[in-house]
């Protein structure tokens, strides 16, 4: 499936919630959408385009905004599809995909705690990798790692 085919199927169903379909090497394409249209898009992608398997959900912090991306696989087309949406850094929220693809559950938990994007209507948004009550989102660019020298000084006081 080519990006044009994707656009032909998606744009009548999504209207202006669809921002564009770009080519992406090694994939069917990269679909950029507005976050309000997330659930509609997921349903169309799963049911009409047969991308039944959600492989991963991840986030990228672009400082002024954050990007959430989804990778889905279709067993009949034997292709991957990349979906991505931008969320503002002040209000990083997007609808959860776990009602459409149950496999999104843990990936979204991880994205929430590491990149700080919250997922609405997620069944179980708890800490997964970091301890309960961990107050930071380590994969944000503003979260800096210690230099080893600093660590040396600090660890003497532990």
């Amino acid at each position: 499936m080519q990006p044009d085919d994707l656009a032909r199927t998606l744009s009548p169903k999504l209207g202006d919630l669809l921002l564009g379909v770009e080519p992406f090497e090694g994939m069917a394409g990269r679909v950029r959408f507005r976050r309000e249209g997330a659930l509609d898009l997921f349903r169309v992608v799963r049911d009409d385009l047969s991308f039944t398997h959600l492989s991963m959900v991840g986030g990228v912090d672009w400082v002024d905004h954050r990007e959430v991306f989804y990778v889905a696989w279709s067993d009949s087309l034997r292709q991957y599809l990349l979906l991505s949406t931008d969320v503002p850094a002040e209000d990083p929220r997007v609808e959860s995909a776990s009602s459409v693809w149950p496999s999104a559950n843990w990936h979204e938990r991880e994205t929430w705690e590491l990149v700080g994007v919250s997922f609405d209507h997620h069944p179980d948004l708890r800490h997964l990798l970091t301890p309960d009550g961990y107050a930071f989102h380590p994969l944000l660019r503003s979260f800096k790692l210690h230099e080893p020298e600093e660590l040396e000084v600090k660890s003497r006081h532990v």
């Binding site: 090694g26 991963m56 034997r78 590491l114 790692l145």
Partner: protein, 381 residues
């Protein structure tokens, strides 16, 4: 009867690593499970942002420590796409050879650990003996047994030493009858069937719904193998079959892994033949200065040099011994990746634990979780 939650882990013989399986039980019956991860969360994705492209390879070995070369392969494929670099053909074949040998090593390690879960001790010793032979091969050209740092953006670090091919063929010849031995110890034994048949059943449609991949998916009869469906490296040129089983249970997963090792041997024989007849470079030329050295970047200058390098996003997906692993690398034109994201197959396989554990007995947990082949390093990253 009263219901209660018990913790199996983080230190428990069942876990094969650091994680905690919270189980809700009524007597011996499992009512609900809740895996608790993160005890080995080492922040690999964050540290990668502070490292050069080639330095991240170090972390890849440690992220899945039984399949280090597969994870190097995964990361290198994604960063090459992000950096618009293509490696020479011989390097691709060497990588493929590494991946297949590592698959054998990983599956033998799984075998050795899994049989202990069902109470057999002898196969553990057999398995470790044969795995050491495979690791000796790796040692002969990478210098390490487990943490190799062998692949580089644009190729591999060094070519194979001359006696390698003959030695590798010898190991393959040794392994083929060993697999028969393994089967006699397990599949030939009634006790194995009594413990493992119809256990941990997860149908193909449930696998797809919950993102389960790899031997677990193929044991349910769904034919999906990225080496065939979306060939990377040079898998298009080699001839092999996808290992399948039915039953979707623990025995099925055992059969799939055993068959995969045989298929890996088939691939390896073709790859070794190719390598014998096609000498050539193993690193791409025309690399940017900070990537060009086969070892770490040379001198201070290599670090400070900022090229206006084309931006890009790389995505790769490989069939790792545990399932489908994916990498997503964002290149923003600096010598360090802007963001690296990995998808671990075991992460998804364990997240579906509720689907294949509920309804069985507590004593069934070790064989079922053993058949998932948990490698916690890659789950927690």
């Amino acid at each position: 009867m009263s219901e209660m939650w018990i913790n199996m882990g983080p230190q428990h013989p069942m876990t094969h690593g650091l994680w905690n399986l919270r189980v809700k039980i009524d007597g011996e019956r499992i009512l609900d499970v809740d895996p608790e991860m993160g005890y080995l969360h080492r922040g690999i994705e964050k540290i990668s942002e502070d490292r050069h492209y080639n330095e991240v390879v170090t972390l890849m070995d440690r992220s899945c420590y039984v399949a280090g070369l597969n994870w190097e392969h995964l990361y290198i494929l994604a960063s090459e796409q992000a950096l618009h670099i293509s490696p020479p053909e011989r390097a691709e074949y060497i990588r493929m050879m590494c991946a297949e040998f590592q698959r054998i090593g990983s599956h033998i390690m799984w075998y050795a650990a899994f049989v202990q879960d069902i109470g057999l001790m002898t196969p553990f010793l057999y398995g470790m003996r044969d795995r050491d032979l495979v690791l000796d091969l790796f040692q002969s050209f990478t210098g390490a047994r487990m943490t190799y740092e062998y692949m580089r953006v644009g190729g591999v670090r060094n070519d194979l030493p001359p006696p390698f091919l003959a030695q590798a063929r010898k190991v393959l010849d040794w392994l083929v009858p060993r697999f028969k031995e393994y089967d006699e110890l397990c599949i030939g034994s009634d006790i194995f069937h009594k413990r493992c048949d119809n256990l941990g059943v997860l149908s193909a449609s449930e696998c797809v719904r919950h993102g389960v991949t790899g031997p677990m998916l193929r044991s349910a009869g769904l034919k999906r193998d990225l080496r065939k469906d979306r060939p990377y490296s040079m898998y298009r040129d080699v001839d092999f079959d996808v290992a399948l089983a039915d039953g979707a249970d623990v025995t099925g997963r055992y059969l799939v892994r055993m068959e995969e090792m045989r298929q890996s041997i088939r691939i390896l024989r073709q790859v070794l033949d190719w390598l014998e007849h096609h000498p050539g470079p193993v690193m791409a030329d025309q690399l940017p200065r900070w990537l060009g050295a086969p070892y770490a970047p040379v001198g201070k200058e290599g670090y400070v040099l900022k090229r206006n390098y084309a931006k890009g996003v790389g995505f790769s997906s490989i069939e790792e011994p545990h399932g489908e692993a994916q990498a997503y690398v964002v290149n923003e034109g600096s010598e360090r990746p802007y963001r690296v994201k990995f998808r671990s197959p075991v992460f998804a396989n364990i997240s579906a634990a509720r689907q294949y554990l509920v309804g069985y007995r507590v004593a069934d947990i070790p064989p079922i979780m053993g058949s998932v082949d948990p490698c916690i390093g890659e789950v927690d990253r």
